[in-house]
Symmetry: C2
Subunit: 476 residues, 2 copies
């Protein structure tokens, strides 16, 4: 199917699901109103038939598509739809769903339902869910795994979040360096299946130490009598389970990897990371960053409960109140000045917001440079450049705002104060815009998270202080 057609198919399915859900609600509300037994029976039959139709629609779908539908439904409907899925589909769509939706489903499902769904998953998927599903549920769901898989799962769960260990899977195709190409091909034919994203096989020695890789296409094109050792690629990008996932993601991007081996500290092959997991990781990380920047802490989905939403949002509002309160105290120091030149009250937000905006531009550039690991030993150069830019901008925009103030209030001194304050605040913004992310970075905190609040706090307070301070000196 073409991509557009597939997208359309998901939309159609969602519309169909919404229609059936609506009918389900209507039937349910009718049932609760009319209490005669005969009607009741008839309606129960209708409702059941309706649900069967819903099941029929859902069960033909790819788990990723079902997950997309779950993501777009409000809580109650989501639960109802999830309960119409077969156990395997339920397990797979739980893995595919977004963090927030998965968390809400795990929270609302009965323990039994959850175990039934999770029991269909393999050790890799269960490891992926660890930390999200309750430990005892995972424990019970993993009972059906082979002993080897269970011990693998136990190991994987011990790695920190956002580590390579959490991303890796155990479905590795490893071959011995002493085998011939013909023997390897023979082994491959005997396997029941080859895991997805297997673009190359990992080559190990007798002690399971990673020696190299051999791409599948090379295997296909090499003389069958050749030893693997003689054709394998030895210099291969590898990762340890404890390493940060972000570093692995960068390597995947940089070297265009599809799969890469994970080895322990002695070089023994313990697993594999694949590009699909790396992409999921990058996507989740990018989304989380966008939400965090706006001050949403955790996994809040669009239809989360009010209680959860309020809880999720309050720390940001509290922080914001503290900073706004401080800026307000700065202003209150100048109440006398404002009382005598009341135009200052109307003009001061302009000074603050010009500073906040230019400062955030600088912050965005510095954060990107830090993320791409581009900033080394050239701080002086960066500061000179940003200072020059802010000087040019400050003179230009200072003049514009100064003229504007003069035009509005016919007061040349007021215009001059405005101009000077904007110029100075833009310089403050440039210095702060560089310093804040660098300081956060050096303190090993994520600059994307706090830099913007801190910057706005400083440009607001300084904007008010500079403008009102200059006004007190020059106007009153």
């Amino acid at each position: 199917m073409a991509a557009e057609a597939s997208r359309q198919a998901v939309h159609d399915l969602r519309d169909e699901v919404l229609r059936l859900l609506e009918r389900h609600r209507v039937l349910a509300s009718l049932a609760s109103r009319q209490q005669t037994p005969r009607h009741d029976l008839l309606e129960q039959m209708q409702r059941r038939q309706n649900l069967v139709e819903l099941q029929r629609h859902l069960r033909a779908q790819h788990p990723a598509d079902v997950a997309a539908i779950l993501d777009s439904l409000p809580g109650d409907d989501r639960l109802l739809v999830f309960r119409q899925l077969g156990p395997e589909q339920a397990g797979a769509s739980l893995v595919e769903a977004s963090d927030a939706v998965r968390a809400s489903l795990i929270g609302e499902l009965d323990r039994e339902e959850l175990v039934t769904a999770l029991r269909t998953l393999d050790a890799d998927d269960l490891a992926f869910l660890s930390g999200e599903a309750p430990d005892d549920v995972l424990e019970e769901a993993s009972q059906s795994l082979a002993a080897q898989d269970r011990s693998w799962l136990k190991g994987a769960r011990d790695y920190e979040e956002d580590s390579v260990g959490r991303l890796m899977t155990q479905d590795v195709v490893a071959v011995r360096e002493t085998q011939t190409v013909a023997e390897v091909l023979d082994d491959l034919r005997k396997r029941r299946e080859i895991p997805d994203q297997t673009d190359r096989l990992f080559v190990v020695d007798a002690r399971q130490i990673l020696r190299g890789v051999i791409p599948l296409h090379m295997l296909v094109r090499t003389d069958p009598a050749t030893r693997i050792r003689d054709v394998m690629l030895g210099n291969v990008e590898r990762f340890t389970p404890a390493a940060p996932a972000a570093g692995a993601a960068t390597a995947f991007e940089k070297y265009d990897l599809v799969s890469a081996p994970v080895v322990d500290e002695r070089g023994k092959l313990v697993g594999r990371i694949t590009i699909d997991r790396v992409m999921d990781y990058l996507r989740e990380a990018a989304e989380q960053m966008a939400l965090t920047r706006a001050g949403l802490r955790g996994a809040e989905d669009l239809f989360a409960g009010v209680r959860q939403s309020v809880h999720n949002r309050w720390p940001w509002l509290a922080l914001n109140l503290v900073t706004a309160f401080f800026a307000s105290r700065v202003i209150s120091q100048f109440e006398e000045t404002i009382a005598s030149v009341v135009a200052l009250a109307a003009l001061m937000p302009i000074v603050a917001s010009m500073g906040g905006n230019t400062g955030n531009q600088t912050v965005a550039l510095v954060i990107r440079a830090l993320a791409l690991d581009q900033l080394h030993e050239q701080h002086g150069q960066l500061v000179r450049k940003e200072l020059t830019v802010s000087l040019v901008n400050g003179l230009m925009w200072g003049a514009v705002t100064g003229l504007l103030a003069f035009a509005l209030y016919h007061d040349a001194a007021l215009g001059a104060v405005m101009m000077a304050a904007v110029l100075l605040n833009l310089i403050v913004a440039a210095v702060t815009g560089i310093a804040v992310p660098l300081i956060l970075h050096r303190a090993r905190r994520d600059p994307a998270q706090g830099a913007s609040v801190m910057l706005t706090f400083i440009t607001d307070s300084m904007g008010f202080f500079l403008f009102l301070g200059l006004a007190r000196l020059l106007l009153v």
Copy 2:
């Protein structure tokens, strides 16, 4: 090599390059001061030797690593380093470098240098650079391509930016549905090379119409006498060149693809997209979005010139001045009120900023839902939820800020006005936070770009208006 080691190696290389660059500068400045011919000769030799050392260091590196170093150097050094690269390495690192750095290099290199570097690239890479390098340079660089590649390049350059056509490559391995597995394996062995990210071969009929795909691992494991037609997978995700790249990227993520066929409107196989290009596309798009949100239009790199930086930043500052000016006009309507209760001037930024912050939280949620295509026909439900959240938050934070105002100014009426204004502005913020991104989305504009400015504009203006308006009614 382990990933940490590779990262360390890049750092070491950069340090070495920086050291050599520094020595180069010292020698150059010495040379410009002492003008005696003999010294000159000696220093020229030293400088040359220094550059040779730089070349030796650079030429052993992966183009991706060289590109990372180019990205992290200021303009002059970048050019100097680039000029030490061999033509092939120069071409490849130009492809790997970030948009901004590539643009600056293309702008500063001589025409000849650029042509020499680009001549080493294949049609796919040249297509990738089209729109960035001047047309006549591309034309000249493509002279060395085979006629077929040249016509392919010409076609690819006609596709719009951010379309599948721009992402696709022509290095496709296609097989006939009537061939046997043995024949295909034989053909593969005869090929000089197989392109990277070839996880499956594309199956076509005699008219080059795409019929299906066959994964490499399936090829390896199937009886050689089998016809491709009988083992290929028929239902395959495919794309047209004119389709948006974003849609293809979503499909790659959702269905864990490594490569996918591109077909024309008649179903004829015309190219291939691979996961590495999709990742590059997603990364560039995410970075661009982060910069755009902060009001940086285009490709500004960390060490861009002052002139370019000022140019890049002014539209945002102009827009911001207009909105700040409007908010200032709102305040000025209440100058009399402020003159009589000057505390209002100090408190009003709190009302505005509480609104701006909660509103941006809502905006972030709605934008994410739109990006993930999760929002359909459930606007009513969303509005109800966000209104309830803002009501709860408004009552809570209204009470806190009201008490704060009372504590500061010992004026119960002022506290009440503060409380009411915060409550109302949070409700305004919720409604605006939903409406603005939805309206932008419906107008087919990117909500990530303008939503935050528009929202802040409304919550600022309304915050001032509500607070000062209530104060005029109740306090004066």
